[in-house]
Subunit: 390 residues, 2 copies
């Protein structure tokens, strides 16, 4: 990297405020990346994403490799031009999708053999190819290929996967040719604190410009996740950004920041939006409920999003009850703006030195009720619509 | 009506340019109304519709009566406020939907007994209720309740339905209490020229501020439709607007204007958009086709819509192939802007006195190929999504 990729500006307890310097602009941290796996944040234009206040988004190498194909995007001038997004982009390497979406996945030291979840065709992904593809896409931050394990996997299996992830990280590092992209390593080690420690220490020595924590939020209880994040972050270099992959529920963002995370991405805010679950500072509401169907006021009167500034809760409720496509977009706008505002408030409180009280106040008010579980199981009218591919 | 509802400004052969004066602004004719049956033009915000250049849209009493309910909208300040649209609105009475969507429809002189297509519940609609509901919704132009017949129905059946439609038109006229709304009559008479003539002459005597031509485009061949339109329009008063219901394919808009139509509405441009069929001046294209998947240029380089100004055909093609929701919105924007530009060009050519050559040039270039039929049958990923309810 010809410039300094990350600057740590302020620390309050373990919470950190900083900024990322990317070829597509400055990104203030802690930051949440909206998920645009298939080169689109579902329902939104790039202008919408910009208006919501986001400077960086995530796209996925696995999805784009399968459709439309890496070469197609490369020949059209790269991912930024293809999706007409001039902000920063982080691409995931595809390791997690090979593990979670492919109907068949065979891992060897050489790489991962997998089948397309779209047409069943067979493919082979190596660390070198993962870097080559991400260089062709041209994201600002790219990720090493890693081997993921599941909650409940044996220590032996987790250790083997971790060691392979380390070898693959070195191979990615060597394969890299583009100095404008920052390649992040991924700490693995499953639920085993000593393996997490070994992974963090090993990768730290290789001196990557950023470190992700992978293999968490894969079904384990939160009282397992949070200490592992805390422990891992404590071992990572202070001057490098830490990225917690796949986490994005409001309460988890606050708890992640409290443990030193700088970057998050997650499909949850946009996915639950499409199911009618909308964030408020008091928790999620189900906009389909009868209580909202006649409500003249906005979903959240304190919210400054386009949806709340423009429409009544009754109208948004009507759109969901009538299975109207505009509802998905208005709900997505609301939830992403909620997350954006939350991250802004978090950052401000870190800069002010008041993060600890912000965190306590937020968590005291924000209820995670049973309602949200019910909402996530709804949305039957979206089934089979590529809605689940994130 | 306290003001003049319609002003005819210019006639070129049978084609007419005029303007409608509504409580929500002036609307230049000939005009196409985007369809927002459920108080939303699918995928678009009211701001989008305005940006596309539309000043009036259509909503549907049948749909809004069933969901969210007329009282809900009335209590929320009427339809304009409910959907946050400050332009003009025309509401259809629900006659056609009772006939086409209800699983059971029993017509008596008193009114129409029907079942909800949503939950099967039984309802009864009379001419008086149709007016009362449309007054509660508060549209600028409202429609009489009519009885529709199908292509192939017997002369006896068509005549009875026509005569009932006439009686209902008189009852609607009497039931009307709001002088800010213009109530249009609907000419029926099926495919029988003498019945069409009788219907036009009968309704003309009742002196409505506007006349719709109903019961066409219900499956009959175009060489049956066009002469009936021509004949009916010739019998209607010159100083009143003529509205051809449910017509909106580009070639049909041109042919309708040529026969004296001032107002059109149709779900076709937005529905086929969601199936990936995009209008160009040369005809419809199927954006899913391989030919577009690598195309760096816009769908139509001469188009000034947001989609064409911003994205490559390859990107829009990718969104459709990947079943991404943004594709539906970008395609809807393109097709509606195409129709808007077409209506603008038509109007300009009438004002210039060059409509006849515009029409010939347009129809010579615009091909209706087999491709469009195939496209309409695609879109399987949208099935069961309320997508068909228009």
């Amino acid at each position: 990297m010809s410039h300094q990729h990350f600057t740590l500006l302020k620390t309050t307890n373990s919470a950190r405020a900083g900024e990322l310097n990317t070829p597509h602009g400055r990104v203030l941290t802690p930051v949440f990346l909206p998920v645009g796996s298939q080169a689109t944040v579902k329902t939104l234009t790039p202008d919408d994403i910009k208006s919501l206040g986001f400077d960086m988004l995530l796209a996925n190498t696995y999805h784009l490799y399968l459709r439309p194909g890496i070469d197609v995007i490369k020949n059209l001038g790269g991912l930024h031009r293809f999706m007409v997004w001039d902000g920063a982009i982080l691409t995931d390497s595809g390791g997690y999708q090979v593990f979670s979406l492919s109907p068949l996945c065979k891992i060897s030291d050489e790489g991962a053999k997998f089948r397309s979840h779209i047409d069943g065709s067979e493919h082979f992904l190596t660390p070198e190819l993962a870097v080559q593809y991400q260089e062709a896409l041209g994201a600002d931050i790219i990720m090493v290929l890693d081997e993921c394990t599941a909650y409940g996997d044996s220590r032996k299996k987790v250790q083997q996967a971790m060691e392979r992830t380390h070898r693959w990280a070195e191979r990615c590092h060597k394969a890299k040719t583009n100095n404008n992209q920052a390649l992040y390593a991924i700490v693995q080690g499953g639920m085993f604190p000593d393996l997490r420690q070994a992974s963090a220490e090993y990768l730290k020595k290789l001196d990557f410009p950023g470190y992700a924590i992978g293999g968490l939020s894969v079904g384990e209880p939160k009282d397992v996740t949070l200490p592992l994040i805390e422990q891992t972050d404590a071992l990572l270099p202070q001057d490098k950004p830490r990225y917690l992959m796949g986490v994005g529920a409001p309460e988890d963002l606050v708890e992640g920041v409290a443990r030193g995370i700088d970057i998050f991405d997650c499909a949850l805010p946009t996915r639950v939006a499409r199911n009618g679950a909308l964030f408020t500072r008091k928790g999620r509401i189900n906009i389909r409920r009868a209580a909202y169907s006649k409500m003249d006021s906005p979903i959240d009167p304190s919210c400054d999003c386009y949806t709340c500034r423009t429409f009544s809760a009754a109208y948004v409720s009507h759109l969901f009850r009538s299975e109207e496509l505009l509802g998905l977009r208005l709900a997505t706008i609301h939830n992403l703006r909620f997350i954006r505002n939350l991250m802004n408030d978090i950052r401000k409180s870190i800069m002010d030195g008041t993060f600890q009280s912000f965190r306590e106040d937020f968590l005291a008010l924000y209820h995670t009720t049973n309602e949200q579980t019910r909402v996530e199981q709804k949305g039957r009218w979206l089934k089979g619509r590529g809605n689940q591919v994130t």
